[in-house]
């Protein structure tokens, strides 16, 4: 069984004056409702341009009750360049240069693709990792 862990540390000495912020958390990723690790992963990198509009980074399988996780990082160093991240028609937020996100991904409906869109001119380099629980690969088209 594979083991995947995700750890976060959030710190600030001056966001809340007089009280330093220190949050740390870690989790092991399991298939839904079990202690069996996730078995599928897609890792990649790409470059986005504004002209391309919103693109699907990963299609949802429409498989209900699965556990899936997404990491996306905007590797641009230009503060003007940000990425809009969404699940189908739900925009999650703006991912600024140098910023990353980590979140679970509901694949319960086949419409729930992960989409990304570059904003501001130029090319935005990005990287991603998607961890999935299902053993079922998409059917051949």
């Amino acid at each position: 069984m594979a083991t995947t862990t995700a750890t976060v540390s959030i710190t600030s000495a001056d966001l809340t004056p007089g009280m330093a912020l220190g949050i740390s958390a870690d989790t092991t990723l399991y298939q839904t409702g079990t202690t069996t690790g996730l078995e599928l992963v897609d890792v990649g990198a790409g470059r986005l341009t504004q002209a391309s509009g919103a693109d699907s980074l990963q299609e949802a399988l429409g498989t209900a009750d699965t556990s899936n996780w997404i990491y996306i990082c905007n590797n641009s160093t230009d503060v003007e360049q940000y990425m809009k991240i969404g699940i189908h028609d739900t925009v999650i937020g703006n991912l600024g240069s140098g910023e990353w996100l980590w979140m679970p991904w509901n694949m319960g409906t086949a419409d729930n693709e992960i989409n990304i869109e570059a904003e501001a001119s130029g090319t935005i380099p990005y990287e991603y990792a998607i961890f999935k629980s299902t053993f079922t690969l998409p059917a051949k088209t």
Partner: protein
């Protein structure tokens, strides 16, 4: 200007060549190198019903900026979970398009937040569960 940093470390042996991702970010204002200066503070909320509850109200924050939301299920159960959805009030489900995903015991998430719609959670059980969450806002 405040400086708030967040570092993620992902390690996995799903592939024969182990995956290690380590990335640190500084939380900045939208299209800026100025750090985020406001926060809700870390909140903790206990749940003992399956009723959907709004934990982040969009109208408390400026829309279309660079806010961030951290959410963690502080429990240990790998059977019970919270649905997390971007929706004003609806209960979440596996087949709802607005459902982002599920947080089982120990699971956490850190996402950018557009502040255009509320963030709603719905426990999967009436057993007691606790969430901690924090908004870093512009």
């Amino acid at each position: 200007m405040a400086t708030t940093k967040a570092q993620i470390t992902i390690q996995s042996d799903i592939t024969t060549n182990p995956i290690t991702i380590i990335k640190e970010m500084t939380m900045h204002k939208f299209q800026s190198n100025v750090g985020l200066e406001e926060t809700t503070g870390l909140r903790t909320k206990k749940f003992a019903a399956e009723t959907a509850v709004v934990i982040v109200e969009q109208d408390e924050f400026t829309n279309d900026k660079a806010s961030k939301v951290y959410i963690r299920n502080t429990g240990t159960s790998k059977e019970n979970f919270f649905y997390v959805a971007k929706h004003a009030s609806a209960a979440a489900s596996d087949t709802a398009a607005v459902t982002l995903g599920k947080l089982y015991g120990g699971d956490w998430m850190l996402i950018p937040y557009l502040a255009d719609v509320n963030i709603t959670v719905a426990p999967s059980t009436t057993d007691a569960m606790t969430l901690e969450f924090m908004v870093f806002q512009e």
